[in-house]
Subunit: 358 residues, 2 copies
């Protein structure tokens, strides 16, 4: 069984910590480990490093190898450009087919947080068992805890089987990110799960689906597959991959295929998509303050703040609901609940050509 | 005419910028110059550097000389310990008497901000003229702009004279810092001025008053005067000054003497006593943000903040009424209006023995 970690993200929403050269998954933002180190450690009980592939951009491969010395260098697949998840997964699938003929691949985003790792592994094992016994395209749906608007939703259909004690359902429908009202309606209706971006299938199964629903990309992937391991490999990947359109696996395959299945999971999942989401999943003191400081904390009458200041003593006086992030060259001060606007700061820096701060 | 600058302050309220080794008056907190550099430059039209004395603690003399190379080293009078303003002024008075017999001395705090310097000089000249023609103890009272509770108040009595175009009044009463209600009542009643801590008198006049109202301190000052310029000077000052009680000139002399006079002044004065007061006197952008940043500012929907971050780009997102101050080893985040509690942070650091941060 293979693990395929999709590590193409930029993570502008964690500016000023995330930068072009250092996207979210390479940051120690949730714990002392970086997010991708946690992701790899989490899957390790199921898949050894030799069978763990990471798909990433050329600019991040060096740092990634530095953070993950246990992963063989040949397992780092370089995307010459980002083309969303469908080409990324296709690249990994042909690499697996070339290496071992066929095998189950567990496809995981590189930058999520999971609180209950034993349950996570149990659910993935059930999903892998499901994938193994057919050409199913299996995804994990997260039991929603509220009407979140930041996630896509998957509607479960009828129960199809039980694998390793877990019920497996047909996928009835897939919904793009809803607005608040729509999200409330989905929760009231019941049977909807958050789209976790985790997929489990045989390499052959996803490539068959690509041939059917993304034939242009499938044709390109065959060319790449033929070149893998030859002297032309890098040149072919650069040429073919650059010509791919940008398309997600959800839109390109999952919304169209008939053989999709859903395994529900409830293991404290978050995609940690913003500073606000980070506050939600961070350990907090009695006053609700999540503070990482190099030299201690003195808090007076202050509640529900998120502060990152790695070298300094942090002192809070009478402040509530503020996010403060300090790096060597930038200082962000943001009201809690407004952190989606951090993207605007990054856009402004791009307009201003402030490469030093991006 | 002499100027005597009282530079004994600690300025814990500007932590984390102010430190034991670097009190408020040695900081460039209001402008590009340090506060004491501004103070010296402001008085320079009236008093040359050779006649400007600075009374300060031993720990600050080095930095003070570095910042004020134009002041002769002999003009820096070292207090072995801080004993409030009465001994400080007495020390300067005997130094002047020893040097030139007698002269008018303009006594100024080292750490105030004055917007209208020409008017300031005009008022001081009138006060000096008043002091010169008698043994009056003259103080400058500031036209109040609101019911401030952070200042003492002086009540004017009947008009006594007009000097250089300025009316000079008897001092009717002196009030300690009032509460908000009392301050409102004083303003409604009228005839009250803020106590600026500026005093103008002949050295002989203040020493006569000390002999009458602070005879113990006066006796010690005579011993110091005898030792000035001898080999014993430092030893005598250390011994005598250490034995002085701590007492303010307001409480020790001004509240008791009968020959006190008041010159009202209105020249944009502030004692800049806190981060909140600094926001009040700082230049602010259209959105009310006073930001000093090393690499620029990006503000989105943010108002009325004070931010100091000398090395970094500052980005504000959706925040109002927050004070953020970043130094090499500390980060303060404080709600505007709460900055008097910064003193509590310093007290906590003292309790914890965090000498590195004090």
């Amino acid at each position: 069984m293979y693990a395929v970690i999709m590590a193409g993200g930029k993570g502008a929403r964690f500016w000023p910590r995330s930068r072009n050269r250092l996207p979210k998954h390479l940051l120690d933002i949730v714990s002392e480990q970086t997010i991708i180190q946690e992701t790899i450690a989490r899957i390790a009980p199921l898949v050894p490093p030799e069978k763990t592939l990471i798909v990433t951009g050329a600019g991040h491969a060096g740092e990634l190898m530095r953070q993950l010395p246990e992963i063989p260098q040949a397992n780092i697949l370089i995307e010459p450009v980002g083309r969303n998840t469908a080409p990324c997964i296709g690249l990994a699938a042909v690499a697996i087919r070339k290496a071992v003929g066929d095998d189950v691949m567990i496809v995981l985003p590189s930058d999520h947080k999971i609180a209950d790792e034993p349950t996570f592994c149990r659910i993935l094992q059930a999903a892998a068992g499901t994938a193994e016994c057919g050409n199913h395209l299996v995804t994990v749906g997260i039991e929603p805890t509220g009407p979140e608007t930041g996630y896509g939703y998957i509607e479960k259909g009828e129960r199809r089987m039980t694998v390793a004690g877990e019920d497996v359902f047909a996928v009835q429908s897939i919904r793009e990110k809803p607005n608040r009202e729509q999200a409330r309606a989905l929760l009231n209706q019941g049977g909807f799960f958050w789209n976790s971006g985790m997929f489990i299938w045989k390499a052959s199964a996803v490539l068959t689906a690509m041939a059917a629903y993304l034939p242009d990309i499938h044709a390109g992937l065959l060319e790449i597959e033929a070149a893998l391991g030859t002297a032309d490999q890098d040149e072919v990947i650069a040429r073919i991959y650059g010509g791919f359109r940008s398309i997600s696996i959800d839109y390109g395959i999952m919304e169209k295929a008939a053989n999709t299945l859903l395994v529900p999971g409830d293991f404290g999942w978050s995609d940690v998509g913003s500073w606000d989401a980070l506050w939600e999943v961070s350990p907090r003191d009695d006053q609700g303050n999540a503070v990482r400081s190099g030299r201690g904390l003195i808090a007076i009458d202050s509640r529900n703040n998120l502060v990152y200041s790695p070298q300094k003593l942090v002192s809070l006086v009478g402040v509530e609901d503020v996010i403060v992030v300090e790096t060597e060259d930038a200082l962000l001060i943001c009201r809690r609940g407004e952190s989606q606007a951090v993207k605007q700061v990054v856009d402004t820096l791009e307009e201003q050509g402030r490469q030093d701060l991006l």
